[in-house]
């Protein structure tokens, strides 16, 4: 065991692997930070460069991209309020308000340090409990997946501060959008109006970036007339923060950190549940356990610590499923499996025992990437902070162009760019009418999965009561109902004394 670690670590520390891993982290940070380029896309872009490398070097590079990408998403979510990746949607809830209040450095670094700690903590089960955890994940049947996704969606709808009803409307709209395209059962076209393009459904990423980037940036442009020509005033865009104080802040919330790490880890272990759910669920549990739940969304550390530790733990989780069983935990690990296959290695349940040097090399690469992200992000952050203080009339077009390019790059189709613009308009209208955006996005992400798992469950056993009688599935559904009850209660409580709740910055 110890010698395996030593070989793994020494291999990863050799200059060739180390440098490609560091390059991977940089690519991940940049890709994650650019709205419109997801971690999955970055991994796919980097993939061809790994073909010429030896297997460990190649996978280490991709692990670097994966780990770095999560932190890249954090930076954009904090500085622009646009989730750089789908797994940072809930990060925008508190990180962005904190940055706008003049503490961008504190917001980013809270996320960064929470991510590092969450990532390191989640690395422990990756190494010692991978097979056990992955076996547990296999027990999740279609009923459990269905109910878990319903729970996630209920949570994000009831989190909306504007109004529970508006949250539900947005979530329903998201779900309805996923109905467009080929049905998941036999591919019959639905609501495509004869359009060949729509048969694939709306490309999720084009919608995400459209809705967020457009809505967010248009609102900023409106504020220009109120004398805010840039996102961050040049003076406030400072990084002068005390790391010691921030680390202490993170440690003060050790219970939150631990819980969020567990949530992120477990969501990562479950195959086909992405980081977006981990991010939302972690935020929600932090809020529900908190004694000052009403301050969530105003820019408090709790929300940032929860979401970012969950993100990084999610990476370890999907590596667990991938390394223990050769099952992709999410789209990124699917590409990673592809990278291994191209090197003639088919990851499966015997992977760790038959290729221990490679497996321990990958463990080491994960830890190294997690640690390396911090100094690399520090360097990059200085640059990005300067980007954010560019006057809006230059910044906004550039971000929108990047978004359009990202939309095009999904599968090299021009129609995606039009989708991007269309949903940009929709998002803007929604924000204008005070509809929250996150439920729409989550509805769109989870809609297919909810439908597919519902169909699978019914095809497996025609008895619909199983959704309630299977213990975990039943629990998730009860929690969903509780989530709404809690939301209604919160609204009542707020509505009685102070009249209307203060408008939220959350887009």
């Amino acid at each position: 065991m110890i010698d395996l670690w030593l070989t793994g670590l020494s291999r990863v520390l050799q200059p060739d692997v180390f440098l490609s891993l560091a390059a991977g982290v940089v690519a991940g940070l940049v890709g994650g930070a650019i709205p419109g380029i997801t971690i999955t896309m970055t991994v796919i872009l980097v993939l061809p460069f790994t073909f010429g490398m030896d297997p460990l070097q190649g996978v280490a590079t991709l692990i670097g991209v994966y780990v770095g990408g999560e932190s890249g998403g954090l930076i954009t979510a904090t500085l622009l309020g646009i989730p750089g990746t789908a797994s940072t949607i809930a990060t925008t809830f508190d990180a962005y308000p904190m940055a706008r209040k003049g503490e961008p450095g504190r917001a980013v670094w809270l996320g960064m340090w929470a991510g590092l700690l969450g990532g390191l903590l989640a690395g422990i089960p990756l190494v010692i409990g991978a097979v056990t955890l992955a076996s547990l994940a296999l027990k999740f049947g279609p009923w459990e997946y269905f109910s878990l996704f319903v729970l996630t969606l209920s949570i994000v709808s009831s989190l909306s501060e504007q109004s529970l009803l508006k949250g539900l409307v947005a979530a329903t709209l998201g779900l309805l959008l996923t109905v467009v395209g080929s049905d998941p059962l036999i591919g019959a076209p639905r609501f495509t109006f004869g359009s060949e393009y729509l048969r694939t459904g709306f490309p999720f990423l084009a919608v995400l970036v459209g809705v967020y980037a457009f809505a967010q940036l248009m609102r900023e442009l409106e504020k220009r007339h109120e004398g805010q020509p840039r996102l961050l005033a040049a003076g406030s865009a400072s990084l002068a923060i005390s790391h010691r104080r921030i680390i202490r802040e993170v440690f003060q919330q050790w219970a939150n950190l631990l819980r969020s790490t567990l949530v992120g880890l477990w969501i990562g272990v479950l195959p086909a549940v992405g980081g977006s759910a981990a991010n939302i669920l972690a935020y929600d549990q932090a809020k529900k356990f908190s004694r000052h739940a009403e301050r969530f969304g105003t820019g408090i550390p709790d929300g940032i610590i929860a979401t970012e530790s969950a993100n990084n733990a999610n990476v370890a989780g999907s590596l667990i499923t991938m390394m223990a069983f050769g099952i992709p935990g999410d789209a990124v690990s699917a590409v990673m499996i592809g990278a291994l296959i191209i090197h003639g290695i088919q990851p499966g349940p015997l992977f760790i025992s038959t290729k221990p040097d490679l497996a321990y090399g990958m463990f080491s690469a994960y830890f190294l990437a997690t640690v390396l992200t911090v100094p690399i992000a520090a360097g990059l952050l200085r640059l990005l902070l300067r980007v954010v203080s560019v006057p809006l009339q230059f910044l906004v077009p550039v971000i929108l162009v990047l978004g359009a390019i990202g939309a095009y790059a999904i599968n090299n189709l021009m129609a995606n760019v039009w989708t991007f613009f269309f949903f940009g308009m929709l998002g803007y209208v929604m924000v204008k009418c005070e509809f929250p955006i996150p439920p729409l996005i989550l509805g769109l992400i989870l809609g297919d999965q909810i439908e597919v798992n519902f169909i699978r469950a019914i095809m497996t056993e025609s008895n619909p009561l199983l959704f309630l009688t299977r213990p975990l599935s039943g629990l998730f559904l009860i929690l969903s109902a509780a989530s709404f009850a809690w939301g209604i209660l919160q609204m009542r409580r707020r509505a009685v004394p102070g009249g209307l709740p203060a408008p939220s910055v959350r887009g």
Binding site: G141, Q346, N412
Partner: protein, 323 residues
């Protein structure tokens, strides 16, 4: 009197010569003149992607220009097929395809079939396997079939409905002459194998890329749909040994858009053959649980026609046929 006519000649002649050479040069023996785009209609990291990336790198060696894999996933492979069909027919776009081109057509998912393209060559064949849950009570294929005949509709089979993993199991039902199982929709090999490992389904089509999972006892391979036992897994009996005459595989080949000149197709066919004969390719495919199976364009055309008829019949049999 400064510039004598002689100096002009020195400039004019080479220019004229270049013009004469370069204008018609576009279609006489110049293929391939720029990088070739290989459309893979599935995501990076999938089986087709992994196989075709190896093929692309070897095609590159033979053709002398880069062969760039472009993944256009979506709509069960239809999005990529549509892009390939639209591409200019000059041999600079090649389309990597497998049996889905027939199934998606007959089930009404797509309006594109193999006849929208010019076949170049068949490259590989990945034999199908009947796999069951690792702790299932059936130790042999016979036990499974007998149990299934006794209680059809109770054993759950996971499959991408209307696609190869579905049709393979239907083919077995047809040869056995009885309904055997109830189908549950699991699209894609990875989700299907995950469900099989978790015991949420009992039976599914698998292939030799999943051998590791079978060796670890998480799934069990009962029978292989090949003519003879396979050298990579000689302990797995064939379906024929149980009296079920089903030989089935996922067959991957290359096509080009309709209208591509014959000389260009011939050049690609030659490159394809050299890939198929390359020991590097054979070695990579062995690790992929895939057999190298080269058919030239004539043979491939016949193969496609027969395969199309079979898939049409199967689509009709399962009641999915829409055209």
């Amino acid at each position: 009197m400064v510039s004598p006519p002689g100096a002009w000649r020195w400039i004019l002649l080479p220019v004229l010569f270049l013009l004469l050479v370069s204008v018609p040069g576009g279609h006489v023996g110049a293929y391939p003149e720029r990088p070739i785009r290989m459309i893979v209609p599935w995501a990076a990291g999938g089986d087709t992607d992994a196989i075709m990336r190896v093929a692309a790198s070897l095609l590159e060696k033979d053709l002398g220009v880069p062969v760039v894999v472009v993944n256009i996933p979506g709509a069960s492979g239809t999005a990529g097929a549509r892009e390939a069909k639209k591409a200019p027919p000059d041999g600079h776009t090649i389309f990597s395809v497998h049996d889905y081109i027939h199934t998606t057509f007959y089930t009404g998912v797509a309006d594109i079939n193999y006849w929208d393209f010019v076949p170049v060559c068949l490259l590989t064949s990945t034999p199908s396997i009947v796999a069951v849950y690792g702790r299932a009570r059936w130790r042999t294929f016979r036990e499974l079939i007998e149990d299934a005949k006794r209680r059809p509709d109770e054993i759950k089979a996971g499959a991408t409905l209307g696609s190869t993993s579905h049709f393979f199991l239907v083919l077995i039902e047809r040869k056995v002459g009885s309904r055997l199982w109830r189908y549950v929709s699991y699209e894609g090999t990875a989700p299907r194998m995950t469900a099989l490992m978790g015991g949420h389904i009992d039976v599914a089509e698998s292939n030799l890329t999943q051998l590791d999972k079978a060796r670890a006892g998480q799934i069990r391979f009962l029978a292989l749909a090949t003519e003879k036992r396979h050298p990579s897994a000689p302990d797995i009996p064939t379906l024929r040994e149980f009296g079920v005459d089903v030989v089935y595989a996922v067959n991957r080949g290359l096509m080009v858009p309709k209208g591509t000149p014959g000389s260009v197709v011939a050049r690609l066919e030659k490159a394809c053959e050299s890939v198929a004969r390359d020991p590097v390719f054979a070695d990579a495919m062995l690790k992929q649980g895939t057999d190298v199976r080269f058919l030239n364009r004539g043979q491939y055309t016949i193969f496609l026609r027969e395969n199309d008829a079979l898939n049409k019949a199967l689509a009709e049999y399962v009641g999915f046929k829409r055209r």
